[in-house]
């Protein structure tokens, strides 16, 4: 009896020491990457978001991609096609790519122009809802000139033809693998969508949807001696805070993506000294959209309709009013307290790439409540009935200010409401579930496209580095309304002939300096016409372990774009 007990205790002790042995340091040949939003699918054309695109970018590669400075780098080609080297036709309607020699798919066969053509056919198939369709906009034909040469023809002249097959959004897939997965059949090809064959440094070993992806090196990778790691583990789930902790405090993981955490918390974690937080600023600008039309509920069907300019907003179209609203905001406080490493105050709608950012509006960075009050007094927008709210022509400055439900956004709303109260503007706050607000249901009154409010706040952006499409969002034809199912891009419902002329001019301009100057003019016009009030240039903060080398944080392409170069110290 006694002896039995001793054996049991001894066994338990052995178990405990085994179990309690400190968590061993990671194996040298494995890298652990944490994405708190788990990867759902590895086919970027069917993906539901950024995490999936990043997960597939380790396997699939585009012809050219963006580096961390937003510059285009040839990837599967030797040279970037330009007008000078003859890669782009003089009339800007076609671009010719020549694949590098000796690129093999991970299962053996060489990459050919047929794969590139197939990728286009795959994405633009009418029965297929392709995510990257806008990358292939205006493409009329893609044809294989020879084994390694592909010509893309556009229906119009394209001054910036680097949409198709560029960046992690539109990489090349293998024709042989996806041949049976075209059109409506695409979602049924689970094996293909979960394990695409690629040309990248790693290939899928095991994929558990919404959980973890395990990658092993691609034996046919073109660069000798790369990649470094024997295994890449991309683990999903959990939340941003615990992901940051795993890299910065416990050292269990090597890289953690998109750490949207309170700045104070992140700083404390970084102080533990195990890892580094890196940030890149995106073209994402959090802004206030100012409704140029009248959203009054008593207008019924005509709420927030442009109606050829016959339905103007009762007071927000007044220059003094929107200027005062903008002056009263302290953007730096919002940036420091709410965004931390992941945001910077801005006065531009087009804040990135940095070369496009206008310096003409920087005065807005300083809050000026007195100035705002004086401006309103001067314009005769005063509080005439003594209720603490100013009136313009008898209409009180009472604003319905809506945005999506999100802790940072609600804090921003609260701050701004307080500042606006100081200039005699009454604000009613509203937040709507993101799924509804950004969902395009034409029957819902709460979408951002319907805009049944005076002011709404959200982030808008563009992919890649060329802002032409983005700046084209605010032309009259794009005004959101019933004719386009409230899906038009011109949410503020602003229509300006001069702006329109600039957009048309940009579509014909090739030289980069001229394009920059045009984009800046358009940006200044948007900001100085009371269409939008930019607040924060947002970015992404990620963290990597101090023993990891080679990370070049990239906001223009996948964060894992150069994972082939990542190594571990020591």
């Amino acid at each position: 009896m006694f002896g039995k007990k001793i054996v049991v205790v001894a066994l338990l002790l052995v178990l405990c020491t085994g179990v309690l042995a400190p968590v061993s340091a990671q194996m040298g040949d494995e890298i652990n990457i944490l994405y708190w939003q788990a990867v759902s699918i590895l086919n970027p054309y069917l993906s539901g978001g950024t995490k999936d695109l990043h997960g597939s970018s380790i396997i699939l590669e585009p012809l050219a991609r963006y580096d961390e400075n937003g510059g285009l780098v040839p990837w599967l080609v030797d040279e970037l096609p330009t007008v000078e080297n003859g890669g782009i036709s003089e009339d800007l309607t076609s671009i010719t790519w020549t694949l590098s020699e000796g690129i093999l798919w991970s299962d053996g066969p060489p990459l050919t122009s047929a794969d590139v053509v197939f990728t286009w056919e795959y994405c633009v198939h009418p029965d297929f809802g392709c995510n990257a369709l806008s990358n292939f906009a205006d493409v009329e034909n893609v044809e294989a000139v020879d084994e390694r040469t592909v010509q893309v023809t556009f229906g119009i002249s394209k001054p910036f033809p680097y949409g198709p097959f560029v960046s992690h959004v539109a990489p090349i897939i293998q024709a042989a693998q996806f041949a049976d997965c075209v059109g409506a059949n695409a979602p049924n090809c689970t094996d293909q969508n979960f394990g695409p064959i690629g040309t990248g440094p790693y290939m899928v070993e095991e994929f558990r949807a919404n959980d973890v992806v395990t990658y092993v090196p691609n034996p046919n990778y073109r660069e000798e001696g790369k990649p470094y790691f024997q295994r890449v583990i991309l683990k999903g789930g959990g939340d941003a805070e615990s992901a940051a902790r795993a890299v910065l405090e416990t050292g269990e993981a090597d890289y953690a993506w998109n750490l949207q955490i309170a700045p104070a918390v992140l700083n404390t974690m970084e102080a533990a000294g195990k890892g580094t937080v890196v940030t890149v600023l995106d073209p994402d600008v959090e802004r206030l959209m100012i409704n140029q039309t009248n959203p009054a509920p008593d207008l019924g069907e005509n709420r927030s309709l442009y109606m050829g300019g016959e339905n103007p907003h009762p007071f927000l179209t007044n220059d003094a009013v929107w200027m005062a609203l903008s002056m009263a905001i302290d953007r730096n406080i919002i940036a420091e307290q709410l965004y931390g490493a992941a945001g910077q105050a801005t006065c531009n709608v087009l804040a990135q790439p940095a070369i496009y950012a206008s310096a003409n509006n920087d005065s807005c960075l300083v809050q000026d409540i007195d100035g705002a009050n004086a401006l309103l007094d001067e314009a005769g927008v005063v509080d005439s009935d003594g209720d603490g709210v100013r009136e313009l022509d008898g209409v009180p400055l009472s604003i319905l200010y809506q945005t999506s439900t999100n802790a940072v956004r609600q804090s921003t709303q609260a701050l701004i409401k307080q500042w606006w109260a100081e200039i005699g503007v009454e604000t009613e706050l509203r937040n709507i579930d993101a799924g509804v607000f950004f969902g395009g249901d034409p029957a819902s009154p709460d979408t951002y496209g319907k805009f049944y409010a005076d002011i709404e706040m959200y982030t808008n952006s563009f992919s890649g580095t060329d802002p032409e499409t983005y700046m084209g969002n605010w032309v009259c034809a794009e005004i959101s309304g019933p004719d386009n199912g409230w899906l038009g891009n011109n949410i503020p419902r602003w229509c300006n002939a001069d702006y329109e002329a600039l957009v048309a001019q940009m579509a014909q301009t090739v030289a980069i300096e001229d394009r920059i100057s045009l984009a800046m003019q358009m940006n200044d016009m948007l900001v100085n016409s009371g269409v939008m009030i930019p607040l924060i240039d947002r970015g992404v903060a990620s963290a990597y372990s101090n023993v990891l080398e080679g990370v070049r944080m990239n906001g223009w392409d996948s964060e894992l774009w150069n994972i082939a170069d990542w190594t571990r110290m020591g």
Binding site: N131, A434, V436, N460
Partner: protein, 427 residues
């Protein structure tokens, strides 16, 4: 008893049907949009096309009927066929005259509809009364009629269709057989675009391991604690464990989970805070690792159920210890250990066992938060991700599975009740 069981099982069928309809209707009303999480840079027109391709815009009844068919008929058939190797799809009958030569009018329509039908239903094809196998090579589909020149059904990519092969201009590559039962329509997740049942099957082991282990641990610790508490009512042990149980019951699992991570992962470095779902147990070392990574989530979950169960054991035991039959047993001179362990405990456990059975489906749901914190990524985490991503098919399926568990364990509890308590008889 048998009759009762059959009746209960039969009643559960309409119950589940009503539940599934309600679940479907409620989720249908939810404003979740599966493309709402896509970057804003994707234009609305493209979003609409994606929605269309997913079948989001189908009318409610169509979606419900589809789901019923796929979930109740197709998926069980798939599993059954996979296990037995049989094929139940009704064959598609086809006369030789139905095939048209290349170039003849209408051949493209016929062949493409044929290929689509064969692919989506997994039927076999019969030509002139003879069953045919379908040969597939790359993009081409053939009828294998045993001769050297298989009948050419169609080519997927560009729709070139011929009737007779064997002529010199078309080559038949060495083809593999199209796995017929695989191509039966399955219920796909909007997020992963893969069959939901496969996701569920993939994730069940993690959940069962963590949740099951914690439930077992809770039962084995809670019952003795409850017995001792009742036997020594108001002793220091009773007071201490009562406080402990109250704390365990009232502090939410996510808070305890975070405390555990802070102390045992961040400060002490004993246990990993990230659960490795790909870990395979092969030897003692890997088993120890499995234990190490499970300890925190298991303990957190076990604490909660332990608190609940020990309280119930205690009160039920207290009630029984006061009863006459216990006094009789004692006065007969039966050893105290036997009085408590045999006479009193057996009767006290009746309500506890019911509670345990009824609690099992609750455990699956209760694990949702714990799974999320420790990245166990089982069924609970799948549900959370699906809700966040507006992936209604997955949410519907998982909710329904939880409903099935509830109904099932209710029956189990009732039956157990009758088995344990001879006073209860079902007729």
């Amino acid at each position: 008893m048998g009759q009762y069981l059959v009746r209960r099982l039969l009643i559960s069928i309409p119950t589940l049907l009503v539940i599934s309809l309600v679940v479907f209707a409620i989720l249908e009303l939810s404003p979740a949009d599966p493309v709402g999480n896509l970057p804003l840079t994707i234009p609305p027109a493209v979003r609409e096309q994606i929605r269309e391709a997913m079948g989001v815009n189908d009318p409610f009844l169509v979606k419900f009927a589809k789901w019923l068919r796929q979930f109740m008929v197709n998926e069980p058939l798939n599993i059954f066929e996979e296990v037995t190797g049989l094929n139940f799809a009704p064959p598609l009958s086809l006369g030789q005259d139905d095939l048209i030569s290349t170039g003849e009018e209408g051949y493209e329509e016929l062949a493409s509809s044929l290929v689509a039908d064969v692919q989506s239903t997994g039927r076999s094809v019969i030509v002139d009364g003879q069953a045919q196998e379908i040969l597939k090579s790359e993009r081409q589909y053939f009828l294998q009629d045993g001769s050297d020149s298989p009948l050419f059904l169609g080519e997927m990519a560009n729709g070139i269709v011929g009737r007779e092969l064997g002529s010199d201009n078309v080559e038949v590559a060495e083809g593999e057989l199209l796995p017929l039962n695989k191509s039966r329509l399955r219920y796909l997740s909007w997020q992963t675009r893969s069959p939901i049942i496969d996701l569920v099957i993939e994730r069940t082991p993690q959940t069962l391991w963590v949740v099951g282990l914690s439930y077992l641990a809770a039962i084995f610790v809670a019952v003795p604690i409850g017995v001792i508490q009742a036997y020594r009512q108001y002793s220091n042990f009773d007071r201490f464990t009562t406080v402990f149980a109250t704390v365990g019951f009232s502090i939410p699992t996510f808070f305890i989970g975070l405390l555990f991570i802070y102390f045992f992962s961040v400060q002490l470095g004993w246990f990993p805070s990230i659960y490795d779902t790909t870990h395979v147990v092969t030897d003692l070392d890997s088993f120890l690792f499995q234990m190490r990574q499970s300890i925190m989530p298991v303990t957190v979950l076990a604490l909660f159920y332990m608190a609940l169960l020990s309280r119930h054991t205690r009160s039920s035991m207290l009630e029984n210890l006061k009863l006459d039959y216990v006094r009789t047993a004692r006065s007969k001179g039966i050893a105290e250990r036997r009085v408590v362990g045999h006479h009193a405990l057996r009767n006290s456990l009746i309500p506890v066992v019911t509670l345990i059975a009824l609690g099992i489906p609750g455990v699956f749901q209760g694990a949702i938060i714990t799974e999320q914190i420790f990245r166990v990524n089982g069924l609970g985490q799948l549900l959370i991700i699906a809700i966040q991503g507006g992936d209604l098919p997955t949410v519907q399926t998982l909710t329904f599975i939880f409903a099935v568990l509830n109904v099932f364990f209710n029956i189990v509890a009732d039956v157990l009740y009758a088995v344990l308590d001879p006073r209860i008889r079902y007729t």
